[in-house]
């Protein structure tokens, strides 16, 4: 079990998206005729709060690492070659990567599912044609 390594693991990304989906589902549920159960909101609220804190922790962790590296370089200038921080756009790309990978993974699975469905439909048709032929 893993929360997913930043930029590679998609586990954390999936569960964060599921929390967002939970909220959307509850909000749009009544409009679609499903009454949103009030009892579910405390749980959803808790999950949203935990997820938000997780995101804040990730941002805080980056700031902390930056700060520690800065202090380390001040005291030991030789470390400067290791302490070069990636650019902002690179960090943004890395943050978006799990979501991009997740989207690709889900798309691949969906395509696989459709391909299998059409294949089994084709084999059913073949079987039906074979049984109809004299």
């Amino acid at each position: 079990m893993s929360a997913g390594l930043p930029a590679t693991g998609v586990g954390g990304a999936l569960y964060l998206l599921l929390v967002v989906w939970m909220v959307l589902r509850e909000l749009t549920g009544p409009a679609k005729g499903n009454h949103s159960a009030r009892s579910r909101w405390p749980f959803i609220g808790k999950m949203v709060a935990i997820s938000l804190v997780m995101v804040v922790v990730v941002l805080g962790e980056r700031l902390l690492i930056q700060g520690v590296l800065k202090v380390a370089v001040e005291h030991m200038p030789g470390l400067a070659i290791y302490a070069t921080l990636p650019s902002g756009s690179f960090v943004l790309l890395m943050a978006a990567m799990p979501f991009i990978l997740l989207l690709l993974l889900m798309t691949c699975l969906h395509v696989l599912r459709l391909a299998l469905a059409s294949k089994s439909e084709a084999s059913r048709d073949d079987l039906a044609n074979a049984s109809q032929s004299p």
């Binding site: 893993s2 390594l5 569960y15 935990i50 997780m54 922790v57 962790e61």
Partner: protein, 362 residues
Amino acid sequence: MSEMMRVLYPVSHHKKAIFGGPDDRQITVIVPAHNEAASVADTINSLLDQTLPPAKIIVVDDCSTDGTGDIARALGVTVLRPDKNTGSKAGAQTYALSLIDTEFTIAIDADSILAPDAIQNLFQAIRNSDVAAASGYVLPRYVKSLWERGRYIEYLFAFSFFKPIQDHFERPLISSGCFSIYRTDVLREIGGWSNRTLAEDMDLTWTLYATGHKVRFVPEAVCYPIEPHNFHFLRCQLRRWSHGFNQNVILHWRNVLEQPFLRATVAVLLWDAIVTGALMLFALPLLSILVNPLFVLGYVIDLPIIAVPVLVEGLRRREFGHVLLSLPAYPVLRMVNTTIMLQAIWLELVRKQSLRVYEKGH
């Protein structure tokens, strides 16, 4: 242990009166046991101490050589002993299934104890006729060794974050084999617990989904199994779980593909096992040596994220200090998990060498 349980969980006995009605006595508990003399008495006592007591407790003494059956018999429960060892937990549980005449069946490991209201809480979920199985919250009974501490964090994270979300979407990944309740007729309909994989609980859960049944997770029903305290037992347990997971993927993949939520959770698990595993075992060490030593931070960089729900849960359970002390053990356990999982993926999915020998995890 019974006295200790009363001290730990001072549940008033008036609750028994509430369940003295028609709901009572509809449950049989199966306890599969092979050489569990050290722990089976605690399990039975915790079952006898439930606020909703079962009608019958059946211990399947799977040809133990340490007097497990005698200990169980002395505590007044039914003991069954097959002619020969059934070879797996699934085999022992299914052996007892034909003797069950109650509407509900609980399976519990012989090294587990329950919070006194665990069955009562689990029962609330399965009273809904759509629900075929329900499982509870699992926490290690002892949290002392490095491995137990790692497992403690792993369970707190999974059962307070992943599993409730899965339950919200009505697709818990697994109804845990160490403590679950089932509708007996549904169990019989699908042939009981199968030993075609090493993770019979996952196999059963996915079979239930494939046949249109619901499975629930009940966080209020708490179970405390004994987790592996040393590396040898941990390795046995993880090998069984990892190979079992892959065997279930091979067996159920077509049905899993048809269920959007399950498809997503299983795919993500496999992805993280392969990609994150490969990164941890191969890429991070190489990058740390060849490019920048700071890459070593990759091993613990997501620990603060994991710490969030775990510490919240620790606060709720008044175990904050304990949680904080145990957190560093988690990355160590994860490395072992990752290594064994990658090995299992290689053997099961690539080499097609299926592990078939059931190795006990404690």
